[in-house]
Every structure is written in C-alpha cells, then in structure tokens.
Amino acid sequence: MLDFLRQPWPWYVAGPLIGLTVPALLLVGNKALGISSSLRHICAACVPAGIPFLSYNWRAEIWNLFFVLGIGLGGFLGYQVLGHPDTAAISPETVRDLKAQMGLTDFSGLLPRELFALDNLANWKGWVFLVLGGFLVGFGTRYAGGCTSGHAISGLSNLQWVSLVAVIGFFVGGLVMTWFIYPMMF
C-alpha cells in the first residue's frame, strides 16, 4: 500500500478521484469546484483599489481560500511526506523533443530548472516563463470565467456548452504556444 502511495498514480486512479471532488464539494456545502476564483478573492482582499470587479464581499467566498490552502498542504504531503520520484515518468518522445527543440538537459523536478530557476529573472527567458506565463494564467482564467477545474472539470461535468468553448480556447492557446511560439523562441 505504501509503495503504491509513493509511486506516481496512474490516470485511472487520479482522474476518477478528481472527478469525485465535484460531488464532494456540492454535498458538503453546495460549492462548485473552481480554483482560479481564489486569485480574484485574494486580489479583492488585499488590493481592491476601488475596482468594481474587486469590490464585493470576498469573505462570503472564504471557503475557496481554505480549499486552495489545502491544495498547498496536499502538495507538501504528496511530494515531501509521501515522497515522489524526482523525475516525471514522461514519454521518451517528449524527452527527445524537449532536448532537441528547447535544449533542455535537466528533467528532474516539477519545472525545468533551465527555464524556471529564479536567477533566470536576470534574462528574458525568466521573464517570459515566470512573469509573463503566470500573468497570462491569471488574466486569461478570469477573463474566461474559469480554469481547468472550473470549466474543464466542473463545467463539462454539468454539460455547460460555455465551458466547452473555454476548453477549446485553452487547447488552442496551448497548442499555438507549443507548436508555433516555442519554435520561434528556441
């Protein structure tokens, strides 16, 4: 059992468990799974600056911040306490392509150190990956009204066509970055 917990979990274990989070949140408190809203609540709590979209009673949504705090705690428990192999078990084709196309050599950790090491902030690469990347995630999810959890999982589970439009958008953006913009950057 402990061995199983330590290894990376296969999709057919993890996916259904993620799916069960949707009814769990509904049954426990009538809450819809969605994580990007937490970013809005944090902005509303810390820097509302008189912006109408940030002037609302964020305290009524505080459950969402507890959920997100839990995700952080889960990351600690899953990675540091249960323990996890340092290198993701990705396909050899991906390793080959990332080596050839982006010049990556270090495949350990959750993020490639060659792109995300903090001293990269001294050059354009660090700014593109760390700052612009994070900015687009925060801007885009709020503009779209949800992220992978709110639209792809919660929304599609509830047969929302709006969420299908959003998810197609997510993939269009991701594919354009991977197949067209990355080749221009490296």
Partner: protein, 136 residues
C-alpha cells in the same frame, strides 16, 4: 471550524494532483505534444465521473449534508470565454500549470511557484481593472 471540510477536501485534491504528476511542466508539454494519454485520461475520466455524479445528484434531488437543495449555477457566455480561454492556454503551455497546480507546486517546495502565483495575481488584478474596456 466550518471551513475545515474545505481544507480537508483541498488537501486530498492537492495530493491527487501531485501524485498524478498533473503539476509537472513536463506532463503538460507531453499533453500538448500528444505524446501520451496520461493527461487526457486524467481529465477525461474526471469529467466522466463528475458527470455521472451530477446526474445522480440531480435525478435523486440530493441535498447537502445540512439539508439545502443542491443547485449549480450555469456558466455565462461572453466573448471572454474564448478570448480569455486562449490567453490562459498560452500561459498554461508556458508555465505548465493551471491555478490549482500552482498552489500544489508551492506546497511541494518549488520556489518558482511563488513568483508564478504573484504574476498570476497581477494578471487577475489587471483583468479586473481593465474589465470594462475589454470585449465581452
């Protein structure tokens, strides 16, 4: 502590994200390069289980543990749905993370995640400030 249950569910959610390597940049690249089924399997099976669960809840008119009727708000369409969706997609491929995984990465001890979360907060704040001027 009426919020404890959300902390517990969030913790389980974070463990699942971490153990299934959904929070790995490399996994997201593998997905966008169509080189493994893993991510499609995770998202697809999550949707199937979520869909069946919601159908069961609706058909049996289940109530919450405190006896409230369960209601799920419909998602509202705007042009932002696809414009914002594409913008997020570009960021998803760059950072290899959506908002949930960012918090899990931070907890797992990745320093870069703190910078990514601050940048994401700046993005959400900027959207909020510009909201009235953007196509909707």
């Amino acid at each position: 502590m009426k919020y404890l249950k959300y902390l517990v569910l969030g913790t389980l959610f974070g463990i699942i994200l971490t153990k299934s390597e959904v929070i790995s940049w490399f996994r997201i690249q593998e997905m966008f390069r169509f080189q493994a089924f893993h991510m499609y399997g995770v998202i697809g099976s999550a949707v199937v289980v979520g869909l069946i669960s919601i159908q069961l809840i609706k058909r049996n008119r289940l109530k919450t543990i405190t006896g409230e009727p369960i209601c799920i708000a419909d998602k509202q369409y705007s042009h932002g749905t696809w414009i914002g969706g594409i913008i997020f997609g570009l960021g998803w491929a760059l950072t290899g993370a959506c908002p949930g995984p960012l918090f899990a990465q931070l907890g797992s001890g990745v320093g870069a995640a703190a910078v990514l979360i601050l940048a994401a907060l700046a993005g959400t704040w900027t959207y909020s400030a510009l909201r009235e001027k953007l196509p909707r």
